[in-house]
């Protein structure tokens, strides 16, 4: 009994001590407000973090849009399926115009006109498969070919379109960028235009896949031959005993002459073929 009383007494004392030990209300409230202030002073950093996160999301969204736009632009420019009437056709033509405007040299400009002509031909081929005849595209093709023709510079290689029913023809620009037109039926391109062009221009050749690639023009070969002859003459006049060099030069001279002959023969053959065709 006494033990129980003592136990209860002890518990009461401990409870009293616990109550005494507890914090005052004033202290609790003061501390809580201090903690709130402390948290709020940290909060702007978090807000900044959230703002930055939003910025990052915003930037990611922008990047995605940019990616989609650039992909669309690249597709529009490179695809021959984007023809007159297609939703992306104005974009394609705008890019081409910009491309034309940034050209600096006349040679590059000439190449540009051929390139544009080639692209119009691709579009015409695609439209033809859909049984669509687009006057605008045709007139654009004419425009670019005229532009190329009117160029005052003497360009050695000018492309011509050869028409062979149910066959493939290759259009090669001076940069050797082939554009293949696959046909399953007769190609209705106005060949008179090409023939007129051929008559007026003195220097052009038909480039097909069966031709050898003659990288050296006639002019270049002639110049080379001239140089070799000059060097040989110099060697003889100075009485230089450099037989190996002399032999080299003579070999080069022979080679150049042979190449020049080949080109001339080929041109003759082509002329003959053209005459036969007419």
């Amino acid at each position: 009994m006494k033990t129980d009383r003592n136990e209860k007494e002890l518990e009461k004392l401990l409870a009293k001590l616990a109550k005494e030990n507890g914090p005052s209300k004033h202290f609790s409230q003061t501390l809580l407000s201090k903690l709130k202030k402390e948290h709020q002073s940290d909060a702007p950093e978090k807000g900044l973090f959230i703002a930055n996160l939003f910025k990052i999301k915003f930037q990611l969204a922008n990047l995605t849009i940019l990616l989609v736009l650039s992909t669309t632009t690249i597709y529009a420019y490179n695809s021959s399926n984007v023809t007159s009437g297609h939703i992306l056709y104005p974009l394609k033509r705008t890019i081409e115009e910009i491309e034309g405007k940034i050209i600096s040299t006349p040679e590059a400009q000439n190449e540009y006109y051929y390139k544009m002509a080639g692209r119009r031909i691709d579009e015409i081929a695609v439209l033809k498969l859909k049984n669509i005849f687009d006057e605008k595209t045709m007139s654009d093709l004419q425009f670019f070919l005229d532009k190329a023709q009117n160029d005052q510079r003497n360009i050695a290689l000018i492309p011509q379109i050869s028409q062979t029913p149910q066959s493939t023809a290759t259009l090669k620009t001076p940069q050797s960028i082939p554009t293949q037109i696959a046909e399953t039926e007769t190609y209705d391109l106005d060949m008179d235009m090409a023939d007129d062009f051929a008559e007026e221009s003195e220097t052009f050749s038909l480039m097909t896949n069966t031709e050898n690639d003659s990288n050296k023009s006639v002019k270049e070969l002639e110049e080379k031959i001239k140089k070799i002859k000059e060097e040989l003459q110099q060697l003889e006049s100075e009485d230089l005993q450099d037989s190996s060099r002399q032999e080299e030069l003579e070999e080069s001279l022979e080679e150049a002459k042979e190449q020049l002959e080949e080109i001339e023969d080929r041109e003759e053959d082509e002329d003959e073929d053209d005459d036969d065709d007419h």
């Binding site: 004392l13 401990l14 009293k16 616990a18 903690l35």
Partner: protein
């Protein structure tokens, strides 16, 4: 729920316990206990982002911070030499405590004294259980021992307290 609301909930639940514990470990110095409690909860607020329920309960987490802070405090007290002003403040404080002591019942004062004679382990358990209000389960988690062991130690501590307070003439 925002982070601060969560913290506030924990604060309301555990602040009095932490304060009581600190007071019992600082010779019932009210001002010092309040200062240390403020510092501990400031620390806890700054570290609150690192707290996760997976690692343990809030009670053991805050107790760890409390214990470490007390150790740091006593360490710094050892090295610290009070300035004259601080010494004067300490005197004032102890005088006000003494006045308080005078108004408190003698029994309470005796209890405090007797508690100081217990082993550190028993003092800790009595403080946590009866002064701070932690459950046996929480105490076991805080101290990293089994609940049964805590119960046994608490029972022995009470027995010893009872004996010293009532069954012997302690004052003498």
């Amino acid at each position: 729920m925002s982070d601060f609301r969560k913290f506030q909930n924990y604060y309301e639940q555990y602040m009095s316990k932490v304060h009581a514990y600190i007071r019992s470990r600082t010779n019932y110095d009210t001002q010092l206990a309040e200062d240390l409690t403020s510092e501990i909860f400031m620390k806890a607020l700054r570290k609150f982002e690192t707290f996760s329920q997976d690692q343990g309960s809030f009670s053991s987490w805050i107790f760890k911070i409390t214990k470490n802070h007390l150790i740091d405090h006593y360490r710094s007290q050892k090295n610290k030499h009070d300035s004259p002003i601080e010494e004067f403040e300490n005197v004032l404080r102890s005088e006000s405590d003494t006045q308080k002591k005078a108004s408190n019942s003698i029994e309470i004062e005796n209890l405090k004294k007797v508690m100081h004679t217990l082993s550190p382990e028993k003092q800790e358990i009595i403080s946590l259980k009866y002064l701070s209000g932690y459950s046996y389960k929480e105490i076991a988690e805080i101290l990293g021992t089994q609940e049964n062991s805590i119960r046994v130690t608490a029972h022995r501590a009470l027995k010893e307290l009872k004996h010293k307070l009532f069954e012997t003439d302690y004052e003498n």
